[in-house]
Symmetry: C2
């Protein structure tokens, strides 16, 4: 450990209580994006916390909640983005909280409040890291720092992507740390390198103006049979999606990706037990299950038609609905996939079928050999004293894409203060104060080292 | 017209008002099988009306509502069954009735009350026919008459089939007239010779113990995809049902059936306009549409799985449900079809899928060349002075089967007092008094002639 790192750690140890108090101040301010409660006051509080550190703050009004952007110049021209959000989930059901959600409390070494873990504590841990690094460098940051703190993450970040596209010049940076880093159940630091994109589409089939008596089933066109045949034509029994051009551009895992997948723990026993799965798709098991995350999917979220009550009703349904989602791998584009889906429907005799996109998110993935990944992993292992679990791609989606590509393909990693028991989105949300300290130390080390690493493509 | 027929018609003309008054008495007594209101009192009223004519009456208690059976011996040993029901649909919504549902009223030559058309007026018109024929034969009936008046038709006749099987000796007869005869929009008498059977099955697929995040769609088994593939495997795109042995025993239309189908009016324009159908199954049109009623069907009444609300929910559904019905043609047996469906599921890897029969009705069809059909058609054309429309098989199902086969394959036809505008099951239910008279005359002629016709198979 060099002397800068020592100064950082010493400062964070000594000042921990102050940062926990600062977290208390932020968590005492409600900021529920689902209802709007306290949003404006919380945005101002966040802006004030940045300004008090000499960080240049801009508040951007959007069609939704304000976005707070803070920039601090560094000794090098390299800048690191820190993404967080100040909004929280609704606190209900209130009666299940041990102490009230907006009255932060410490019990058994953990800090309890709505938003403690997701994502206010994490934001303050990064302010602590910022302060520690600056102090260790006698007031100067080795790299520039760009804070982006949005207020709509808990309602699906509907404005952030457009905001980034509209403000590329202001947001120029060379890498980023996403919110919500975590350790696993055995306190190994986790690192997610990639997220799949998603396209959700609602499909509506109408074959008659009203339901008809099922005595006419030998001649009347059934909306539900039509929808079943449409859906069954979307993929074959090997789960291969039949939309023309669906896989074009989809990037398979690299050698590095495969190595990382190989090193991940086997989740099969846990899934079998927890979800009661008897057989996985295509009979997959073991490592093949883990690798299948690189296969894009066509999933049905819900489907309904006709009579759904008790007993029976002898009708031929006139209308049928399905909501489907495609999870897309790096190289695929939800807008392009929607165009191809529409063409597939038109080409297969479903020109009259209504297909409406409900949501799109793009895939995003950082290269495992990116120097920021190496820095994040090495500093994590130094702080946590355990091996990192690195996931090259997870099945879910994230607004990471909203920053990565528009800002020039910057690498984005995650580091933070969470653990699997933190009851995120639930009553008694909390973080462990020891994790807060480790998370601060980890982010501080990344801030300290970021100026010295090369760009992956440079 | 012979002198017996003249005496019958003269009597019915003269006594019409008395029978309308008798209909009023019966319709003033509520008898709602859905709620039980007035059922017992109405059963007693019906029994009394039969007894007052010297008909031997038995009242049978069932697990549901009582069944009233009346028998009157005739000069010949041939007996004709008259099936009716004394229960009615609930009268709601009451505010849409011009006059209260259980206060019969006559307006513009029509008789209004709940149960007027379905089926109390029809029952009284048959008592009128019975009285007229007996009088014309000086007190003796030329054939035996068997009245069966049940009290659960409006709730699906759940006990009648078992009742018939348990009382075959009491119910011996040689032919029957079903309830609900009708004329069409142009006052042509209609005659339905056959009904399809039905098997309704609820299918439930469960692949996990709870819904899962759709980020796992590349590996987690989706209940809805499994159900879609199961259903899509039940029939091919030509609507041919793929269950092994499904068609074995299914009888195609006879030459006579085809001739009758050919003579029916073309319903295609009406269906296209009324239901907004753009394309029929298999591209059928014209006469091929009419003939397709001889194809058994596999229909989906309703289907549901996963998230059905507004917007989206990124899940892989753990459970999916469909209610399907098979309409079966003569020669098919719903119990046998259920066994074959279960075997199909087991043979195709769906052994874990739950399939529960919800309802079964058997097909029933009288031969177009049966002498009772000829008698019914000839007497109808004499009374109505218009050509009969004879449908060899309709798409729907009927409890006719509960009598036809168990009683030795007797022919059952229909004759009655209804017309398409009668608002059956709706507010302002009514029959036209002129139709009541014609219906009485028609049934009287069948009663008068039944002793002289041979059994089809004798």
């Amino acid at each position: 450990m060099n002397s800068t790192t020592e100064r950082i750690d010493t400062y964070l140890d000594k000042e921990l209580d102050n940062y926990i108090r600062e977290t208390s101040r932020l968590c005492a301010q409600p900021s529920v994006s689902a209802t709007g409660e306290g949003i404006d006051a919380c945005a101002n509080l966040v802006a004030g916390m940045l300004e008090s550190r000499g960080i240049q703050v801009q508040r951007f009004e959007t069609s939704g909640n304000p976005i707070i952007v803070g920039r601090f110049e560094g000794a090098s021209d390299r800048t690191l983005l820190l993404y967080n959000h100040y909004d929280v989930q609704p606190p209900e059901p209130l009666e299940l909280w041990t102490t009230p959600p907006f009255e932060p409390a410490i019990r058994d070494g953990s800090f309890y409040a709505r938003g403690a873990a997701d994502d206010k504590g994490e934001f303050i841990s990064r302010l602590a890291a910022f302060d520690a690094v600056r102090l260790a460098h006698d007031g100067e940051m080795p790299c520039g720092v760009l804070f982006v703190v949005e207020g709509e993450e808990e309602v699906g970040s509907p404005t952030i992507a457009q905001f980034v596209r509209d403000n590329k010049d202001i947001l120029q940076c060379h890498g980023g740390i996403w919110e919500f880093g975590s350790v696993d159940l055995n306190d190994h630091p986790e690192l997610t390198l990639g997220y799949r994109g998603i396209l959700t589409v609602e499909i509506i089939v109408e074959t008659m103006v009203m339901d008809a008596h099922s005595g006419g089933g030998h001649m009347l066109p059934s909306a539900i049979w039509r929808l079943i045949r449409l859906l069954d034509g979307l993929k074959d029994t090997d789960e291969r999606i039949q939309i023309e051009g669906f896989y074009s551009g989809a990037r398979p895992p690299t050698e590095h990706d495969l190595e990382l997948l190989e090193a991940l723990p086997d989740m099969e026993p846990w899934i079998r037990e927890h979800l009661g799965v008897r057989e996985f798709v295509r009979g997959l098991s073991g490592k093949a299950l883990t690798r299948a995350v690189f296969d894009p999917t066509c999933n049905i979220q819900g489907m309904a038609s006709g009579y759904l009550g008790e007993g029976m009703k002898t009708i031929v349904p006139a209308k049928a609905m399905a909501k489907i989602d495609f999870r897309l791998v790096p190289g695929q584009d939800p807008e392009d996939i929607f165009v191809k889906l529409r063409a597939h429907l038109d080409d297969h005799g479903y020109g009259d079928v209504e297909a409406t996109p409900l949501a799109m998110m793009w895939p995003a993935k950082v290269d495992p050999i990116d120097p920021l990944v190496t820095l994040t992993v090495e500093t994590a292992e130094a702080v946590y004293e355990k091996q990192s679990l690195i996931d090259p791609l997870i099945g879910g989606s994230s607004p990471v894409y909203a920053f990565a590509d528009p800002l020039g393909g910057i690498p984005i990693v995650a580091a933070g203060i969470n653990y699997p028991g933190g009851r995120v989105h639930a009553p008694d949300e909390h973080f462990r104060i020891a994790d807060f300290l480790k998370g601060s130390r980890h982010v501080a080390r990344i801030l300290d080292g970021f100026a010295s690493i090369p760009d992956n493509n440079g």
